[in-house]
């Protein structure tokens, strides 16, 4: 009567010494605002500078996932206001991501990867509910992330959990990510929708703030039932973002999902296109970086 569609979005911090677009240290620090500079603090006139190692690691991961590494990819600005984003846009890869396709095999299923791309991480927020204030720590702002988006190939919660465990292990073994969930270097959101075999297509619900595989399974199982019951009672599942409340074991609404249009994607005018040759792809995938580590690959011909 229902088909469950579950997809995952994983954000893994890449194991670089510095941030994605500036030379601030990427090392974890509990002291707030230690690793900051005019670039990651979005100062007027500061411009992004791409970390080569982030590209190497992304390619390595993409190759391990048997994906197509694009010889040409580009960066875009995803524009929206949020406290953890000093530029009020995130530099990501929307139109031409670095990595397309790919898959990871579990015991009895193949999970397909839709795409994966480089983007910068946001600042860390702490809450002072009594004062109605939030505190921001920009140590994390600008760290290199690889976002991996899967197809909705998961049939149940344990598959999703198995996939994440395998991906997590792979990332650590390849030296691509530290994978320390408690430090936020391996994060994931899940998208769940129900497709009724008859009747209307329903909305897609995104669940955020899951920080363990166990909680992920619980959240998926809860949400599946919530959506089924909603439809059986004649309701419609709204597309929204929800959060999993671990103590109560339920998902609760966070906010309405912004439509794609509202992000006003703009090709990043401060970064050129990312070109990688097939030789480079092969070299990076083999756990080697090229000999000349500082590569200025702009071909500026008069």
């Amino acid at each position: 009567m229902f088909k469950l569609c579950v997809g995952l979005e994983i954000h893994m911090q890449l194991l670089c010494q510095s941030k994605l677009f500036c030379s601030c240290s990427a090392s974890f620090s509990s002291a707030p605002n230690r690793h900051i500079c005019p670039i990651c603090l979005a100062y007027p006139g500061a411009m992004p500078s791409l970390n080569h190692q982030a590209v190497v690691l992304a390619v390595r991961m993409g190759s391990a996932l048997r994906a197509q590494i694009c010889n040409t990819s580009a960066f875009d600005r995803k524009c929206y206001f949020y406290p953890d984003m000093p530029k009020a846009y995130q530099i990501t890869q929307y139109r031409h991501p670095l990595i397309q396709g790919g898959y990871l095999d579990l015991d009895h299923t193949r999970i397909r990867i839709r795409e994966a791309h480089l983007e910068e991480d946001s600042a860390r927020t702490i809450h002072y509910p009594d004062k109605g204030e939030i505190g921001l720590d920009f140590n994390r702002a600008g760290l290199a992330l690889l976002e991996i988006v899967t197809e909705a190939d998961f049939c149940d919660a344990s598959q999703a959990s198995d996939f994440l465990k395998k991906l997590h292990r792979m990332a650590i073994d390849l030296g691509v990510s530290k994978g320390k969930m408690e430090e936020g270097s391996f994060r994931f959101d899940v998208n769940i929708s129900i497709i009724p075999l008859t009747g209307k297509t329903q909305g897609r619900v995104e669940i955020k703030n899951l920080n363990s595989f166990r909680l992920l399974e619980k959240a998926i199982n809860y949400e599946k039932i919530r959506q089924m019951e909603l439809i059986e009672n004649g309701g419609m599942v709204a597309s929204e973002t929800r959060s999993f409340d671990a103590s109560l074991g339920i998902t609760v609404p966070l906010r309405k999902k912004d439509s794609i249009n509202d992000y006003r994607f703009l090709p990043e005018p401060d970064l050129g296109t990312l070109h990688i040759s097939n030789d480079e792809i092969e070299a990076y995938s083999r756990n080697e970086a090229l000999k000349d580590s500082c590569l200025e690959q702009s071909s500026n011909i008069i």
Binding site: A42, Y43, R264, L266, P269, I302
Partner: protein, 452 residues
């Protein structure tokens, strides 16, 4: 020699002291530009450096450590900048003295310097007339002798037009020749920093110092000024029919025709068409407003600049931005958001970028036929304060300067006489990309002709 330098500086300093309260060219100076520090700067700086003793005014959207970076806006009026732009590092290495930060239209959006939170700058040739914008302060500072040279920024004419209105030389370099690192971004794919000075040689001297590759700016070309090609064989010049035929003030028309005639004695004149001319203004405005809307999103009272406090984040943003940003800036931000959104199913931004490509290609073809193009810098002279209430009329002032901006080509405004009211006239020459050295020679020739 030292005496000459000291006297020259003192003249500038006195002029500033006497005139700035009226002309409002400089909006901040700080303790770092105190005249009492000048002698020790002289004694601790290597006298053989190219800008030794030279006082330079810097537009207040260019980062200078320890100085404000107001961008002509209330939202940034108390902000003190913690780092130097690339061009400032170059100025310092060349031994220059930074005189202070100059007035500008807010966030570089304007053509008259009327949109400054610090009050307008005044045209030194006539107190009721605008100096032009957005680099109005820099143009006034140089024209009135408050400093030797100045830096401005040009997106669609913001150096050239005020240079023309104030009777000084202004250069918009080839896109990519001068690093934008440290220039508060307005329209990233069009912005360029450039020099203003009283004479052609000084302007090019300043350009040669600030130019050069910067690995931190991805739009910066791998070129130092010395590597630019020399071109000794100039035989042809062109006029663009569509620019030639626009309505112009009589005095501008006369000066332009006279110069055309004079140059025709030495170079062969070719009349060329820019068939994509009608797309230039729309493409420019879409690209600018779109990029500006994202470049200015960081000014929200969050982590830098002034904040209007509120109970919630969202209202804090709205109040800070709505109260502390000017009307023209808000207008362009919203238009820019419109051009980037898919509201109404239009794909404005991508069509504008496409139009820009067409224009660039056509302009490049023009320079296969001629070595330089001549036009007036603007179809008018400086206008009265409040004289252009309609934004469309204001934008028309940039019609001659926009095409070369879109194509990334170097262009220079050279003062060329005065109108009957005594207001300066400016003529523009445009060259192929990276042809600055050729344009230098040609600009000098025009400068000589202007004295005829």
């Amino acid at each position: 020699m030292l005496q000459v330098i000291l006297e020259s500086y003192q003249t500038h300093e006195d002029q500033l002291h006497r005139q700035n309260c009226k002309l409002n060219a400089f909006i901040s100076r700080t303790s770092l530009s105190e005249s009492s520090l000048y002698p020790s700067y002289l004694s601790t700086t290597n006298p053989s450096l190219p800008l030794y003793g030279i006082s330079v005014g810097v537009k207040d959207n260019i980062a200078v450590k320890g100085f404000p970076l107001s961008n002509g806006s209330r939202i940034m009026k108390d902000f003190v900048c913690p780092y130097d732009a690339f061009v400032i590092q170059k100025l310092r290495s060349a031994g220059a003295w930074i005189m202070g930060k100059t007035n500008m239209d807010e966030f570089a959006m304007g053509s008259s310097n009327e949109f400054s939170a610090f009050g307008p700058a005044i045209n030194p040739h006539h107190p009721s007339y605008v100096p032009g914008g957005s680099s109005g302060g820099s143009a006034v500072a140089v024209a009135s002798g408050m400093c030797s040279m100045a830096l401005g920024s040009d997106t669609g004419g913001s150096i050239r037009q005020p240079a023309s209105f104030c009777g000084v030389v202004g250069i918009r370099p080839s896109y990519g020749l001068v690093s934008r690192y440290g220039l508060s971004a307005f329209c990233s794919s069009l912005d360029q920093i450039g020099p203003l000075a009283k004479d052609v040689d000084s302007a090019f001297k300043l350009l040669s110092i600030i130019a050069g590759h910067d690995p931190r700016d991805n739009s910066s070309f791998h070129l130092e000024y010395e590597q630019l090609p020399e071109n000794s064989n100039v035989t042809t010049f062109g006029i663009i029919k569509e620019l030639d035929q626009i309505p112009m003030k009589d005095d501008v028309r006369n000066a332009y025709e006279f110069l055309k005639q004079q140059l025709s004695k030495e170079f062969q004149l070719k009349e060329l068409s820019l068939s994509h001319f009608k797309y230039a203004l729309p493409a420019y405005h879409v690209i600018c407003d779109a990029e500006a809307s994202s470049n200015l999103a960081r000014y929200a009272g969050t982590h830098l600049g002034d904040r209007v406090n509120s109970t919630h984040y969202q209202s804090m943003l709205k109040q800070s931005r709505s109260l502390l940003l000017g009307t023209e800036v808000k207008r362009r931000i919203i238009l820019g958001a419109y051009f980037l959104s898919s509201q109404g199913g239009q794909d404005f931004y991508h069509h504008a970028i496409n139009a820009q490509k067409h224009i660039r290609i056509e302009m490049e073809r023009i320079f296969e036929k001629v070595s330089f193009v001549l036009s007036p810098t603007t179809p008018d002279t400086a206008f009265r304060f409040g004289g252009k209430k309609d934004p469309v009329a204001m934008y028309y002032s940039d019609i001659c300067t926009i095409p070369s901006s879109l194509a990334g080509l170097p262009s220079i405004s050279i003062p060329f006489g005065k109108s009957r009211e005594g207001l300066p006239l400016g003529m523009q020459i445009i060259g192929a990309r990276f042809s600055e050295k050729t344009l230098h020679r040609l600009a000098k020739k025009i400068e000589e002709l202007s004295l005829v």
